[in-house]
Symmetry: C2
C-alpha cells in the first residue's frame, strides 16, 4: 500500500464493498496490508503492488539496482505489517523499448539481493513491452499468528519503529538534485526513499509474542496510516508530538520536519498498538528493536495531537503527493 | 503467458537462469504456465500476467465488461494448463485519469462475473494512476496432480481443445471495424479474442485422470506453444495439417486460415500430449470435451507438418505481433 489519491481510496472502498462476497477460505480480504487465504488446507499471506514510472518512482533519479530492491521490499513490508514471513515473489515487468540491457541487469541484481536477504524465492512472472516502466510485484508468505489493522482498543499504546519523515525528506533532496554518496549527511535520508528496509523481523516478533493488537506499515504517512488503524479498530488516537521519532538528519535538512513526520509517506516502518498490560513485553522488544511509544488509542473518532505546550488539537489526515 | 517478442523471450530465459537458485519449497519455478510453491506445508499454484493498453488490448475496441472477464480468464487459463483449480485472484489496476467511473464499474462487473463462474475470490489488489491502463493479475490455485510442459515422450499423441486461429481472426475483424452483435457469423471469432473461455474443467480432468503427459495453453499460437512443449520435453513434433481444428467461421472469413491456425495466438485452448497407451481414456475424454488429435511427438528436434499431399516439411516457429 502506498500513498493514494482520494479517487484511488474511493475506488478501493468500492471494490472492497463489491467483492465482500464470502469465501470460507478467504480469511482476511481486501482492506488490510495483505490478504490471508486458505489454499489446500494451509494459510498463506498474499499482497500485490503496482509501481509505475513517474507515479511511484522517477527512473532518472532511482538507480536501477536500488529500484529492484525497493520494488520487492515495499511488498515485503506489507507481509511484515501482518507479522508474516515472506516466502515467494512474482514479478511483472513492463519495459519501455529504450530501456537497455544494463538497466535490466542492475534491476534484477537489486531484486535478487533483496530476495536473498529476506529468504524469498522468485517463483514466476511476466515480461511485457510498455510506454512507461511498470512493475507489478506479488509476494506470498506464511504466518500462524497474524496481526490485523482492526484489533486496537482504546487505551492501547501507539508505537512506531525507526524514524518518521526521512523518506519524504529524502525525496525532496533527490528532486533538488542531491545524489547518493555525494553528501554523507544527506545519505541516510536518500537511502530512506531509495532503499527502504522492510521490518520483517520486528513484525514477526510482534506477532509471535502476541504483543501487537493492530499493525500497519507507514507507507502513506503517519496520519493516513494511523487513521486506517483507527477506522478498522473503531477507535480514535492521541499522539504526542514531542514523542515522534525524528532523525537528526531530518532535523538538519528540513525546517518543517514535524509536518513531514506526520504526513510524509514511504518510510515503510511499522506502526502498531500494544495493550498497556504488556508493558514488560514492549520494554523487552525495545531492547532488540528501535521502537518508540508515540501516543495511545482513545474512545471516539479522529486523531488528536498534544503539542509541546500540552494543548490538544485535531490532526488533519493528509498525504503528500510525492512525485507531483 | 502471452505472445512475446524475441527480446521478451530472451529476457525470460535470462531471468530463469539467474533465479534458478534452489528453494526446496519452489517445486516448479519459472518456465511453466504457473509456478508450484509449498507454503505452510501445502502446495499452491501461482501465476501472474501484465496486460497493458495498446500492447495487449486496445481500450476503444475492447468493451470494459469483456476486458474485465478476459483479464482474469487469461490467468485462469495458465492454472488450467497445469491441471489446477483456481481459487484466489489479486488485481493491480493502473488507470488513466480520464477513465470514467462507468468504465471502471463495467470492468469490475466483468471481472466479478468471470470470478464467480470459476469459483475464484478476489483477495486483494492495488490501484494506481497510470498513463495507460495497466492490469496486473495474479491467480493462486491448488492441485494435487499437476501437468508440466516437460513430460512428453516421442510417440505421444498431440491433442488440442476447441479450435485454432479464431482469436487471431477475430482481432483482424475487430481492427477492420467489425463490432460484436452486428454480424452473427463474425461473432464467434470476435468472442474468441474479446472473451476467451479458460479450459479449467478440461485441464482438471486431464490432470486427475493422469491422461496428459505435458500441457500448455495456446496463448502464443500453436507453433510457439508446441515448440515450448518440445523444448521442455526434449522431443520434436509432427503435425497433420488436415487434422487441425478450423472453425467454419475461420474458414469463411479468412483466406489464410491455415496460417492463423498454426501461428495465431490468444485462443487459450489447451495443447497437450497423451501416451498412446491411453487411447481409451482419450476417447472417453472426447465424449465430454471438444478435443482433437493433431499429430504426435517425435524423436529429434523441431516441428514438422504433413501437408494434404502427405509431404513432410519443417514448420517455422513464429507468432503474430497482434496489436502492431
Amino acid at each position: 500500500m502506498r500513498l493514494r489519491s482520494l479517487r484511488e481510496r474511493e475506488l478501493i472502498a468500492a471494490i472492497r464493498k463489491e467483492f465482500a462476497a464470502a469465501d470460507d477460505d478467504l480469511l482476511v480480504g481486501i482492506g488490510d496490508d495483505a490478504a490471508v487465504i486458505g489454499v489446500a488446507g494451509a494459510r498463506s499471506l498474499v499482497t500485490t503492488d503496482l509501481l509505475i514510472e513517474d507515479v511511484h518512482f522517477i527512473s532518472t533519479l532511482h538507480p536501477p539496482f536500488l529500484l529492484g530492491r525497493k520494488a520487492l521490499n515495499v511488498n515485503l513490508s506489507d507481509i511484515a505489517a501482518m507479522g508474516g514471513r515472506p516466502r515467494f515473489a512474482l514479478l511483472g515487468l513492463g519495459l519501455r523499448p529504450d530501456v537497455g540491457k544494463r538497466w535490466v541487469e542492475k534491476f534484477f541484481a537489486g531484486f535478487k539481493e533483496a530476495a536473498a536477504e529476506a529468504g524469498v524465492a522468485l517463483a514466476g512472472g511476466d515480461v511485457s513491452a510498455a510506454d512507461k516502466i511498470c512493475l507489478s510485484i506479488t509476494v506470498i508468505g506464511e504466518g500462524d499468528d497474524i496481526v490485523r489493522r482492526s484489533g486496537s482498543r482504546a487505551g492501547d499504546l501507539i508505537c512506531v519503529s525507526g524514524s518518521l519523515g526521512d523518506a519524504a525528506a529524502g525525496l525532496r533532496l533527490l528532486k533538488d538534485g542531491c545524489e547518493l554518496g555525494k553528501n554523507k549527511k544527506a545519505d541516510s535520508l536518500l537511502r530512506a526513499i531509495l532503499d527502504p528496509a522492510p521490518q520483517i523481523a520486528l513484525g514477526m516478533a510482534l506477532a509471535r509474542r502476541r504483543l501487537a493488537t493492530a499493525m500497519i506499515d507507514t507507507s502513506d504517512g503517519l496520519s493516513v496510516d494511523l487513521s486506517h488503524l483507527c477506522e478498522e479498530s473503531g477507535t480514535g488516537a492521541l499522539v504526542e508530538l514531542a514523542a515522534l521519532p525524528l532523525s537528526p538528519e531530518l532535523r538538519r535538512f528540513e525546517k518543517d520536519c514535524m509536518d513531514l513526520a506526520l504526513h510524509g509517506g514511504e518510510d515503510y516502518q511499522l506502526l502498531f498498538t500494544v495493550s498497556p498490560r504488556k508493558l514488560a513485553g514492549l520494554a523487552a522488544l525495545q531492547n532488540e528493536f528501535q521502537v518508540h511509544r508515540i501516543g495511545r488509542m482513545t474512545r471516539g473518532e479522529g486523531i488528536r495531537v498534544i503539542d509541546d505546550k500540552g494543548r490538544k488539537r485535531p490532526l488533519a489526515v493528509k498525504g503528500y503527493e510525492h512525485l507531483k
